[in-house]
């Protein structure tokens, strides 16, 4: 049976798992780890009291061409890789992607990523916090032997200043190139040094032509992105990788831009693609989702709160307002992801109320023109990371990491 090109496409785009931006704070302690020998023993004691006990919920998942599920998250300074051959019911023992422990962003919109290459290559990226707030390096490692061994991690970008390079997003294009995009503050820092105003951060990207052995020098996609929202990536029918991300327009209007990330040396252009007009000088920590149909329709979901929290669905028409705009959900709903297979479009998100979390789903069987009513697929009274939609043989699944464990929740077969 031929598989629907599944995971490499999807992981990319998706959802920040990770429940909570707010535990980012723990990273401040992680920053300190490399310098611990310099601290007196009583200082270390004070820090140990605050060390997290449980892994954070920032995880990513992907299916390979054989239908095996791969899951990455972080624990104890290691990105760990597990797999499942029974649709998530049981997970293998973990393999450590980075042999040497290092601080890892693993919550909220910032989490380890996994993508598969055309020959089953396993590509993993993450962001490493440094010793200043909001700083980081984008890290990458690969396995060419089915996850048994990983290369020593490399820093993807040439600029190693202690500034923001984080919120990495990972995808593989139709030619097997590994593409990584991230949020980068070098231009903001340069403007600040010259006493000039600069809103937000920038999006930079790079790619590898040799299965992740090396990456080309990074290039800037665009200035004035939002500082703290994940970047969604998805593959176009032509095999390029496209990005959809929150950007800043005018006076802190935080709408979204769409761009094809060109890997032929020609410049890429980001174009405004949502027109919600939400003005906020702040951190939404709430990035969008993107899935592109075989016929090229760009299915997108995003969050804004101009008139109260709202998750929107729309079909992007860069330079113009999206088509088939639909309010998917209102207050109490967050972190949506989207997937498409044939005529079916799925949107999954978290709903929270006084009782706890529900994993919600809406589906369309007419390419996004109409959606059915929301359905609760699962629930938890514990904490939950953002859902990530995955495709396997024409069926959708939601990867949902909860404090009770990783769950893969079936979301139904697509209509054909």
């Amino acid at each position: 049976m031929v598989l629907n090109a599944p995971s490499p496409l999807r992981v990319l785009s998706s959802a920040a798992a990770g429940a909570t931006r707010r535990r980012a704070a723990r990273l401040l302690l992680a920053f300190a780890l490399p310098l611990l020998p310099a601290l007196p023993a009583h200082a270390m004691q004070g820090m140990n009291m605050n060390m997290p006990k449980e892994p954070e919920l920032g995880a990513s998942a992907a299916f390979d061409a054989h239908g095996r599920l791969w899951v990455v998250d972080a624990a104890g300074g290691h990105v760990r890789l597990r797999h499942s051959d029974d649709l998530g019911k049981t997970l293998s023992a973990p393999v450590e992607v980075n042999a040497v422990a290092e601080p890892i962003y693993d919550e909220g919109e910032n989490r380890p990523k996994i993508a598969l290459g055309p020959k089953g290559e396993l590509y993993v990226s993450w962001s490493q916090p440094l010793a200043k707030p909001w700083s980081g390096l984008v890290r990458f490692a690969r396995s060419l032997d089915g996850g048994r061994h990983f290369s020593a991690p490399i820093t993807v970008h040439r600029d190693h200043a202690v500034i923001t390079h984080r919120f990495d997003a990972l995808a593989v294009d139709g030619r097997g190139r590994v593409v990584i995009a991230w949020i980068d503050k070098r231009d903001m820092q340069a403007a600040k040094a010259r006493g000039r105003p600069y809103l937000g951060a920038a999006v930079y990207y790079s790619w590898s032509d040799d299965q992740g052995r090396d990456f080309v020098p990074e290039r800037k996609l665009v200035d004035h992105s939002c500082e703290c929202c994940r970047i969604a990536l998805a593959r176009t029918p032509q095999g390029d990788v496209a990005a959809f991300f929150r950007a800043i327009y005018g006076d802190n209007i935080r709408d979204h831009a769409y761009a094809v990330l060109r890997t032929d040396g020609l410049p890429s252009h980001a174009t405004r693609a949502t027109y919600s007009q939400w003005r906020i000088a702040g951190c939404p920590h709430h990035g969008p989702g993107l899935a592109i149909g075989a016929e090229g329709v760009r299915h997108a979901v995003w969050y804004e709160a101009k008139h109260g929290p709202t998750i929107w669905y729309g079909q992007l028409d860069p330079g113009h307002p999206p088509r088939h705009l639909l309010k998917i959900a209102g207050a109490g709903n967050a972190h949506a992801d989207v997937a498409v297979s044939g005529r079916t479009v799925w949107v999954a998100w978290n709903r929270v109320d006084a009782k706890g979390y529900a994993l919600m789903l809406r589906r369309s069987d007419d390419r996004g023109a109409h959606f059915g009513a929301p359905v609760a697929l699962a629930g938890t009274r514990g904490d939950a990371g953002s859902p990530q939609l995955l495709l396997r043989r024409g069926r959708a699944y939601v990867a949902w990491n909860t404090s009770g464990g990783f769950r893969l929740v079936a979301a139904g077969a697509g209509a054909h």
Binding site: L35, R279, A305, A331, D383
Partner: protein
């Protein structure tokens, strides 16, 4: 540079170095009391997060407003980060010049649920300013407050 970093780490690591007012835990059970209208004037709940680059300035601006109306405004900074990060939170409160206020920090296994209980019209973006007035009315504003936004908060 390295010395500065070490000093910062020590400040972070040693509770004795930080003399903020009491940073106390905020759990779901504490929310009704936090939201109860004050006897007079208004309570400003300043929701902030360590990972929010806009929050320190917003806290400072709200403290300025409170100073101008000391009898009418009660300012309560509430960190949406877990109180396990007490040291880093207290350090940041001090940097923002609001260490003297009765600050709270989340102590809740499901922080999004706490967001919802505090303000169901809030999607978790920070900074978020929630005003509870003595007459029971509320006002919620997301993002760092402009001068015009601050004026709206005046009692």
């Amino acid at each position: 540079m390295r010395r500065a970093r070490l000093a910062a780490l020590l400040a972070l690591a040693l509770p004795a170095c930080v003399h903020a007012a009491s940073l106390t835990a905020l759990s779901a059970a504490d929310v009704p009391a936090l939201l109860k209208p004050p006897a007079r004037g208004e309570r400003i709940i300043a929701l902030w997060a360590l990972d929010c680059a806009y929050c320190e300035a917003n806290l400072r601006a709200l403290a300025g407003l409170q100073h101008a109306h000391p009898g009418e405004i009660e300012l309560v900074p509430v960190a949406t980060d877990d109180i396990a990060q007490r040291d880093a939170l207290e350090q940041r409160l001090q940097q923002a010049g609001v260490a003297g206020y009765p600050a709270r920090a989340y102590a809740e296994a499901t922080p999004d649920r706490l967001d919802y209980l505090i303000d169901p019209r809030w999607g978790g973006e920070t900074p978020r300013t929630l005003v509870i007035r003595a007459d029971g009315t509320r006002l919620g504003i997301s993002g760092a407050l402009s001068a015009a936004g601050l004026r709206k908060l005046q009692p």
